[in-house]
């Protein structure tokens, strides 16, 4: 069996499982086949567009999105890591070694937390769901961090239920919005690593 000859059949999903496996192993070593497969896969996919497609039932979209939301549990969004890279919040640096633990445990949490941020005419609204209640004696605190400058406290919230937080103050262009866990009553400067941060 000459594996080079199997590219078209592989692109059409027309190989038997053992042939497909052998071809995939071959792909790892054959640049020529990888290039040809990229081309022919694109063409094979064009055949998908040749069929008359009735609209799928609306429940399919809902079902996919619900399953996706339920599944995404142990992924630490990159945005959290970016905070570190950007060297924001000098005050948080002292707590950095504790913070790593926090991120990991958040990452393994079985709960999916969803944030959405809308900034309109300099005013920001943060919608949060799936965030567990802040521990006893703690609160969640939102921050607005200008592109150059210190983090400004932008409001407190308790978590535990879906919440809409209207951030206090205005959000200058290119600012970052972040959320940290702080002691009850809130603080003037962040002391922990953000559990959420997003550029605006």
């Amino acid at each position: 069996m000459d594996l080079h000859d199997l590219t078209a059949a592989y692109a059409l999903d027309a190989l038997d499982p053992d042939e497909a496996e052998a071809y995939e192993r071959h792909l790892g070593q054959c640049e020529e086949c990888r290039e040809q497969l990229a081309e022919l896969s694109g063409t094979a996919t064009a055949l998908a567009f040749a069929t008359v497609a009735p609209a799928p039932p609306a429940r399919l979209r809902e079902s996919i999105l619900a399953a996706a939301a339920a599944e995404r549990t142990n992924v630490v969004p990159l945005l959290r890591r970016r905070w570190v890279a950007r060297g924001l919040a000098v005050a948080a640096a002292a707590a950095a070694c504790i913070v790593v633990g926090v991120i990991v445990s958040l990452g393994k949490s079985t709960q999916t937390t969803a944030y959405s941020l809308v900034v309109r005419n300099g005013h920001a609204t943060l919608n949060i769901s799936g965030l567990s209640a802040a521990p006893s004696g703690k609160t969640y605190e939102a921050w607005v961090i200008p592109a150059s400058g210190k983090a400004q406290p932008a409001g407190l919230f308790a978590g535990g239920a879906p919440a809409t937080v209207h951030l206090t103050g205005t959000v200058p262009p290119h600012a970052t919005v972040a959320v940290t866990v702080e002691r009850a009553g809130g603080v003037q400067h962040p002391t922990t690593e953000p559990i959420y941060s997003a550029p605006t």
Partner: protein, 223 residues
């Protein structure tokens, strides 16, 4: 600053006083409007960061084509829905491993759908009781289709019609019928080498007919 595609008929103070549920809806509308301008590949990158609205946008772009394809292969609505769902969840789970240099996101997504559908049709052995003839393609009548999809369909169908019958038959039986090359060789009474060469030549010609990479099918924003 106006980070979202705001509805100009809605003054900001009114926006702030909305009920949370309405506000949430408004936010997802606004996010969707923003995502509508992103490329498929950018959406996959966002999905890799757990952005569910990006997955929703990918579904809105390709869900219909995906479902049509799965239905064509499986001829069963429930199985087709399962295949599409599994494929989109695979997108969600493995988005971080998608490499744009190796191909377009739409190709990746529809390949996942097709592979899943073919896997299922073989497992179900549904075709064992069917003749080799493909089910008639669903009629266009009564199907509401957007202009872009209709254009793509007509374009690919026209390119298919230009192929010699034997090559077109091999491509259609493999892609829409889920038959493997060895099954086709057996059922068409042809040597395996002949089937392989029909698939390869047919697909290569189809590629030429569909034009250079710059004119390939890709989603374009209509907004």
């Amino acid at each position: 600053m106006n980070a979202v595609g705001a509805d100009s008929s809605e003054p900001p103070d009114r926006f702030d006083s909305l009920e949370p549920a309405v506000l949430g809806e408004r936010i997802s509308d606004a996010v969707s409007r923003q995502l509508a301008h992103l490329s498929d590949e950018a959406l996959v990158a966002l999905a890799a960061r757990s952005e569910q609205t990006a997955l929703a946008e990918l579904y809105d772009r390709y869900g219909r084509t995906a479902y049509g394809l799965a239905l064509r292969v499986l001829r069963d609505q429930a199985l087709a829905e399962d295949a599409v769902q599994e494929a989109f969840l695979t997108v969600w789970r493995t988005a971080s491993r998608f490499v744009p240099e190796r191909g377009k996101a739409s190709t990746w997504i529809l390949t996942l759908v097709h592979r899943r559908a073919v896997y299922t049709v073989r497992r179900e052995q549904r075709r064992r009781t069917d003749s080799l003839e493909l089910a008639a393609e669903p009629s266009v009548e009564g199907v509401e289709e957007d202009a872009w999809l209709r254009l793509q369909r007509e374009r690919v169908q026209a390119a298919l019609r230009l192929l010699p019958d034997a090559q077109r038959e091999a491509l259609e039986l493999a892609y829409y019928g889920g038959f493997s090359q060895s099954e086709l060789a057996e059922r068409l009474g042809q040597p395996l080498g002949t089937i392989k060469s029909r698939m390869f030549t047919g697909l290569s010609r189809l590629r030429e007919q569909l034009g250079e990479p710059g004119t390939e099918i890709s989603w374009t924003s209509t907004t």
